[in-house]
């Protein structure tokens, strides 16, 4: 695995998430920053197969951001893939933009409107049972307090569908408080395992090698849904946001933007990466 290439991709994703939310004046950049490595490895290391010219291609894998408030990251990923310009990313949350605050079908690569938490895993299960080859559902740790998640976990376990992969971004922090379980990945693992899932714990969700290994392991599992439970830092990569309470749903203020971007170092704005076709 070319980790240097991923360093560059991840810097660019962080840059795009931070600048687009600061430009919008609202949004959830810290929620995006915890999931950067989890998503960039999925998208750009040939795990995720998708035909950008045809979202309804039946051979497409599918990605659902159940944690819909990470929408800026969803848009940034497709921007790095070449499907959206950086200029358009800067229209995030505008009244005429297809890039709404939380994903909606106006954005053609969103499988569903999400943001009412706890619903994405069910939608992913429906997509998997309807025949999509692989379905990846990004969940926040806060939202797994929703009963709907465990309804989906139980029914997916019953159907033993290996086409469904959950990605649990355990960044420890909710909106107003830490989550009930914090970084207790063992308990999350035990819960999913008891529902008939194959659970893979990633001790460092910002280590692209470890994340890559988890996706590779998930692919080998037969007759079971899989979940990758990754310990992450909310706001990862920016010292004054990282693992700090009080930053949920807040963009970097314009006056702190320069300081935040300086921490990223030199970003290659021309960089693109390919999503492998089905």
């Amino acid at each position: 695995m070319d980790t240097q290439r991923f360093d560059e991709i991840n810097k660019l994703l962080r840059y795009l998430v931070i600048t687009s939310t600061t430009k919008a004046g609202s949004g959830h950049p810290t929620t995006c920053l915890s999931a950067i490595e989890l998503m960039s490895v999925l998208f750009f290391n040939r795990h995720y197969h998708y035909d950008l010219s045809n979202p309804h291609n039946p051979k497409n894998d599918r990605v659902i951001f159940s944690k819909g408030h990470a929408a800026p990251l969803l848009y940034a990923l497709y921007s790095v893939a070449g499907a959206i310009s950086h200029d358009e990313l800067m229209t995030l949350r505008d009244k005429n933009s297809r890039l709404e605050g939380h994903p909606t079908p106006e954005f053609a690569y969103a499988e569903a409107a999400t943001g009412s938490l706890g619903q994405g895993l069910s939608i992913g299960l429906g997509i998997a049972l309807a025949g999509a080859p692989g379905v990846y559902v990004l969940m926040g740790d806060g939202e797994v307090a929703e009963g709907n998640i465990w309804e989906a976990a139980a029914v997916a376990g019953h159907y033993k569908t290996s086409r469904l992969t959950g990605i649990l971004d355990v960044n420890r922090l909710g909106q107003s408080d830490p989550t009930m379980l914090g970084w207790d990945t063992k308990t999350y693992r035990d819960r999913f395992t008891s529902f008939g899932w194959h659970a893979i714990v990633v001790e460092n969700g910002h280590d692209v090698r470890e994340v890559n290994k988890a996706y590779a392991e998930a692919l080998t599992i037969k007759n079971k849904p899989q979940v990758i439970i990754a310990k992450t830092d909310k706001g990862h990569g920016i010292s004054f946001l990282e693992n700090k309470e009080g930053w949920h749903g807040k963009p970097v203020p314009a006056e702190q933007l320069e300081a935040a971007l300086k921490e990223l170092g030199k970003v290659d704005l021309q960089l693109t990466a390919e999503i492998e076709k089905p």
Binding site: I127, L129, A152
Partner: protein, 313 residues
């Protein structure tokens, strides 16, 4: 008399239409022998998904399947979809082509008691963005409306009835979304004089309205409207169809947000027409279907009383 419950007609219709529409799939929350989704399962076991008693997940799954080009019909007791209302709301915002069929609506389910009675489902589903809300009164209407749901792109809700009811319509009748059926009194009484009235209802109470029409024949000209499409309502045509000063609406639903309010919306700018709502306004209880309709004040007797009260004013 040909008697059948609309919930049974639903299961039979879906099974019958399955061949013509290969993308139709069925999901049910462990109530398939009550909703009659089992009729579809019997013919198409691989297009049927048991979702167990987990309605929120079932609606989410339906939204996902719709994204893949399937036409999912999710069924359970109508009352239990209220717990998945957020999922329905999000499905509508996802522009998903999904269908929900809720059975056992209203106090007319009888002895099972209030926890099993959907009495707010019409209000809930009417309030969903761009929704279609259907409430068939007989097996023919049910089958035709199931096919309309399949052909319509977008979210549709159908309310079915537990009790068996009489088959009223001929096979040749058409039931377009947005339509209604008028049943004029078979008498020489003018429908526009002071001894005339219009009763608008659907489902179980439509049959109560027909009883009133028959009983009052020759004395009072009762026009009965079967408003099987609760949303959308063709306001222009309904205004034309109603030729009496007074309209009574009757529904097995709370007074808020259901059929009566849909009719009130239509006549809100017609000062010459008065709309009187009959709906369930007391706390429901176990009892026979007939007792429950009487207690709720929505049976034939209650309607007749209301007719006499209005026309003697």
């Amino acid at each position: 008399m040909n008697m059948k419950a609309t919930r049974k007609a639903y299961g039979e219709a879906l099974a019958k239409l399955g061949n013509k529409y290969p993308n139709v799939v069925s999901l049910d929350a462990e109530t398939k022998n009550s909703t009659y989704a089992e009729d579809f399962k019997a013919v198409y076991p691989h297009r049927y998904f048991d979702c167990f008693i987990a309605e929120q997940n079932m609606v989410g799954m339906a939204v996902g399947m719709a994204r893949m080009g399937k036409i999912p019909f999710a069924s359970s007791f109508a009352a239990f979809f209220t717990r998945a209302y957020d999922q329905v709301r999000m499905g509508a915002l996802s522009l998903a082509n999904f269908k929900i069929v809720g059975s056992h609506a209203g106090v007319s389910i009888g002895p099972d008691g209030s926890s099993q009675m959907a009495l707010e489902d019409l209000a809930c589903m009417r309030a969903v963005w761009n929704s279609v809300v259907l409430y068939p009164s007989d097996p023919v209407a049910t089958e035709k409306l199931v096919e309309e749901m399949i052909k319509h792109k977008g979210f549709c809700y159908m309310r079915t009835t537990r009790a068996v009811t009489e088959t009223v319509y001929k096979e040749s009748e058409k039931f377009p979304i947005g339509g209604f059926k008028i049943h004029r009194a078979n008498s020489k009484l003018s429908i526009t004089n002071s001894k005339s009235i219009t009763i608008i209802s659907a489902g179980i109470t439509f049959h109560e309205a027909l009883k009133v029409q028959e009983k009052l024949a020759g004395k009072i000209g009762v026009t009965v409207v079967d408003l099987y499409s609760i949303k959308p309502v063709n306001a222009l045509e309904l205004k034309k169809a109603v030729k009496t000063q007074h309209v009574i609406t009757v529904e097995d639903h709370w007074p808020e947000g259901g059929l009566g309010d849909a009719v009130l919306n239509v006549f809100s700018d017609v000062p010459s027409v008065s709309v009187h709502k009959l709906a369930v306004s007391t706390l429901p209880h176990s009892g026979s279907p007939e007792e429950n309709l009487a207690r709720a004040g929505i049976d034939a007797e209650a309607i007749e009383k209301k007719v006499n009260e209005i026309l003697s004013m």
